[in-house]
Symmetry: C2
Subunit: 226 residues, 2 copies
Amino acid sequence: MPTGLLLTYGLAKGVTMTEVAEQGVRRGRKFDQVLDGARTVFLRDGFDGASVDDIAREAGVSKATLYAYFPDKQMLFKEICAQECRLQADDVEARIDPSMTVEAMLTLAGERIAGFMMSEFGQNAFRLISGEGARFPELARDFYRNGPGLVHDRLVHHLHHLVQSGALRIDDLDLAAEQFIQLCKASLAENLLFRMDHQVNEDRMRRSVRGAVDMFMARYGVPTKA
Amino acid sequence: MPTGLLLTYGLAKGVTMTEVAEQGVRRGRKFDQVLDGARTVFLRDGFDGASVDDIAREAGVSKATLYAYFPDKQMLFKEICAQECRLQADDVEARIDPSMTVEAMLTLAGERIAGFMMSEFGQNAFRLISGEGARFPELARDFYRNGPGLVHDRLVHHLHHLVQSGALRIDDLDLAAEQFIQLCKASLAENLLFRMDHQVNEDRMRRSVRGAVDMFMARYGVPTKA
DNA sequence: CCATAAATGAACCGTTTAGTTCATTTATGG
DNA sequence: CCATAAATGAACTAAACGGTTCATTTATGG
């Protein structure tokens, strides 16, 4: 029953990560301003680098107001991460058409994965979450589960059907999924991670994805009998 | 003239990254103690998380002594990164025997790459440097150049010879090298980055590397005429 | 128009931090 | 053994930080 699989590199729409951070968070008139400012400053400066005064200034809000909404800096940080994940998920959500060829489907999935890695939020999130993962283990875990981990699971599920239908020949589905994801990041990965100024334009991304699909098919594709 | 190529994931032996950070750094009796303590605390807590008092205590040295050696915290941090890169390079250095089969050579290279990613220093360095890259752009650049970038270059060089000798068929050497590096990190990458407690044992690594070699050969290998 | 809630900003507290100073102690090398 | 350099530790400064308080102002909704 592959009636079209959800493939996203963000957070699933149904998953309400907010629940985690909703304890002690009150609403009010300038709630969104606070979130916007916090997002800007956190993603730019990291958790330690961002001072609450900076955030309040960026948000155009007094510090007292900020603390009227959020009990402390950590809760604000968690709320930002949750919100960003949800936003990203709503944005990149896509349905895979089961009538597509394997190559077309992989290309579509790959472009979404690479696109997320290239996005401003994608870069910052990876740096930020991985860097702050020691202080907020549960946050890093949630981010992985609802982001990269989710993609992995859905990809495995999808590949499983393609194997059963005879389109692919794969023995280790977990490994294959992870290989494809990694391949999509070729020629993007460290350049992004270390902020190299290599132009990370569309062409570079497409080249990376096409290379990933070619390689994946060379390894796992079933030769056409014709 | 492929008389055996150096392949390392750290810093080349000849590269003296120290020169960068040697300005204003004085030697003395307890110099190494300071470096050891700083390395421990920096890699554990990051730049902001590490306080100079902590470092001095860990090093078993007075803060005055520390500041007698290094003019400020940043220079100490840079010195640590440079020293660690050099140390890593000396440690993992290896010569590739040109009489090896392509598979054996790739396996050896892959195990070094994956091994570095799995190592305590490798994990911390990636997290730390990528996280602190915004504050120290030149440091992130140097680390990339003398670490991952170096591996990339050497791998390209090596693949070039294998193409010329007819063992491989590759049109885009840069892409192929990056693909191989990424493949070696499959089933290790995000788990490490986000501190998931998946056991990252030797078996898992070897499975990853074997998968990388298989995939690489499936895509770029020249079918044997027999 | 007015009562109520929300927002303000500036002052303030306690803590932590990087970095300095200096009189005293310890070790080294000739 | 002694002169010189190195190391000490404890006290200190100045700044930044997270978080609180509160009297005053602003906006909202009935």
